[in-house]
């Protein structure tokens, strides 16, 4: 398999990889074939491509019904539609029944939605879906990780949500880096002044912030949280217990996302000072990803500001 550079194309590649080995793998589309460039899959496996038309609610239930017959459907739509338009179907049919449905949400975050605007930005998907029992939520950080996350998700029993992006995200890990459901992982850093927690395609922003902190002599560790649910509570607790303070960074509302998840662990364990970088309970707007991150504070400079603030 060649190195996938688009997080959307990665879903199609992952589907092809899975389908070759497992005839139970199916692709459910609510007119989503073009979204992930899955034309190859649809042509290679026409009998395992189920097109419902643009009806996300029926598509979510259709995937549930297919799973109940023993298939492993992967339903792809935008994050905002998976978590909101089809929210109740996701909760009351897929998750409540604990069915083997993998849901892939594209355009997760404002950077992924960029010029499309708020209607197509999944800024609250994680907050909503974190509250559903039985659900596993994966937030891979580049295209290669998306493909591996999909393969890992298909092997899991129970429903899985994978947050993905616009397809323009930079590569963060190497092609050899595995994706493991569950544990947090330390990406870089030395020292215990600050723990920087992040997830998804904005991980490079944390790395840049780390360089700035290093120049200032601030000890830091960058921790990636690829599985937001079930949360690696003990791994996070261990890092919090050995840090003076923590900052979380996410392309998602700070209401209910990664920041809230880490804070939940923090208040029940280390109880160290914390700050959250992310969308501050506002609706973003159209723009390039870079312009949006600059305007809404997902920048290395803003992370450093928050770090210095919380360490005072």
């Amino acid at each position: 398999m060649s190195h996938t550079t688009s997080s959307r194309r990665a879903v199609a590649d992952g589907l092809m990889e899975l389908a070759e080995k497992d005839e139970r793998i199916c692709f459910v589309s609510s007119d989503s074939v073009a979204v992930i460039k899955a034309q190859d899959f649809a042509e290679t496996y026409p009998d395992r491509t189920v097109e419902t038309g643009i009806c996300e609610q029926a598509a979510m239930d259709t995937a549930a019904g297919m799973a109940s017959t023993g298939l492993k459907p992967v339903y792809v739509t935008y994050a905002v539609f998976a978590s909101m338009r089809a929210c109740e179907q996701f909760r009351s049919i897929v998750c409540y029944s604990n069915l083997n449905v993998v849901v892939v949400g594209a355009n997760g975050g404002m950077g992924a939605g960029e010029r499309e605007g708020v209607s197509h930005m999944g800024c609250e998907d994680v907050a909503i879906l974190r509250s559903f029992p039985n659900l596993t939520i994966l937030i891979p950080s580049d295209a290669s990780q998306v493909r591996k996350a999909l393969v890992a998700a298909a092997a899991l029993d129970g429903p899985v949500y994978i947050r993905t992006g616009s397809g323009k995200e930079p590569l963060f890990h190497t092609e050899q880096t595995p994706f493991e459901i569950g544990p947090v992982r330390q990406i870089s850093g030395r020292g215990n002044d600050i723990a920087l927690f992040g997830c998804g395609f904005i991980m490079p922003v944390l790395e840049e912030a780390g360089s700035l902190l290093e120049a200032k002599g601030v000890g830091f560790r960058i921790i990636e949280v690829p599985t937001i649910k079930p949360l690696d509570r003990s791994g996070i607790e261990r890092i919090l217990n050995s840090s003076r303070a923590a900052v979380t960074v996410e392309d998602h509302t700070v209401v209910g996302g990664l920041g809230s998840a880490v804070a939940d662990v923090n208040v029940q364990s280390a109880n160290i000072p914390m700050r959250m970088v992310g969308i501050q309970d506002v609706f973003p707007e159209s723009g390039t990803a870079e312009e949006l991150y600059n305007k809404y504070g997902i920048t290395p400079e803003n992370i450093v500001r928050k770090v210095l603030d919380v360490l005072q």
Partner: protein, 274 residues
């Protein structure tokens, strides 16, 4: 079962519903009664290919009660078919029960669909039907929807999808009892002309008396040769059918009988059931 035995069974299931609702002091008897003959025909009329001793048998036909609030009657049918003991019917809506207030496939043996949130059962049935086609299985999928339930947008999403997916293994019974929770279907939502609507979407449509075993069984048989089209059997029914004090009285959508009403129900349905 012959027609006479089916009638007795339907009365037995209706009486089970009354006993269950009376015992737990909660539930929807009216909407359950309008589908009594349909469910009786499915489970006791030789329509569904199932194995009560092996509820998850891979080759089974599936049934989804999309109008999930009618589930006490389905639970009674499952128990009387042998999926679980009839004594368990009295656990309906109680703590630690396998018989939830609305259908949950994760707990009830023989129940293939999690429903209760209206409209979702049909969409799930569409997925089941497609899943069986993909796996080249001969199993069929049966689903009951309500006419009030057809207010839901997801019903029409599913109707569109099922036709486009050519799901000839899907048969839907539309319980056309003319009532929904808040009043008549006509007054609350104005939805009508179901046959025309389904035909326009490309479905095979049949209209029958939903309380006639002969018509129900014959409609299912006649729909079987249909190629590439899902079938809807629009069933003219009476909400609360079977007890004169309940028939077409929409207060019985969700209502608990008094002791006196229970005595009448036991008298009428008890006689019919033997």
């Amino acid at each position: 079962m012959n027609s006479s035995d089916l009638k007795k069974t339907a009365a037995r299931l209706r009486l089970d519903v009354m006993e269950m609702v009376f015992d737990v002091q909660d539930g929807h008897p009216g909407p359950a009664f309008s589908v009594a003959e349909i469910i009786t025909a499915l489970y006791f009329g030789g329509i569904m290919n199932i194995r009560p001793h092996d509820p998850l048998w891979n080759e089974r036909d599936r049934f989804v009660l999309s109008k999930g609030h009618a589930c006490p009657l389905h639970y009674a049918a499952l128990a009387r078919s042998g999926f679980f003991p009839t004594e368990e019917l009295f656990s309906l809506r109680k703590i630690d029960s396998r018989l939830q207030g609305h259908p949950f496939m994760g707990k009830t043996p023989g129940n293939d669909g999690t429903t209760g949130s209206l409209g979702n059962g049909l969409a799930t049935a569409v997925g089941m039907a497609k899943g069986l086609v993909i796996q080249k299985k001969e199993s069929k999928v049966f689903c009951i929807i309500g006419d009030g339930e057809c207010n839901e947008g997801i019903i029409w999403e599913s109707v569109m999808a099922a036709a486009n997916l050519n799901l000839s293994n899907l048969t839907v019974f539309l319980d056309n009892n003319l009532w929904q929770s808040g009043g008549s279907v006509e007054a609350v939502s104005g939805i009508c002309d179901f046959q025309e609507k389904f035909e326009t979407f490309g479905w095979n449509t049949l209209c029958i008396d939903g309380h006639s075993f002969k018509e129900i069984i014959s409609a299912v048989q006649s729909s079987r040769p249909m190629k590439d089209k899902p079938t809807v059997i629009i069933c003219s029914t009476v909400k609360g059918k079977g007890l004169p004090f309940m028939e077409n009285d929409n207060s019985w959508h969700k209502r608990v009988p008094t002791q006196e009403q229970m005595d009448i129900a036991r008298e009428i349905l008890g006689k019919e059931a033997v």
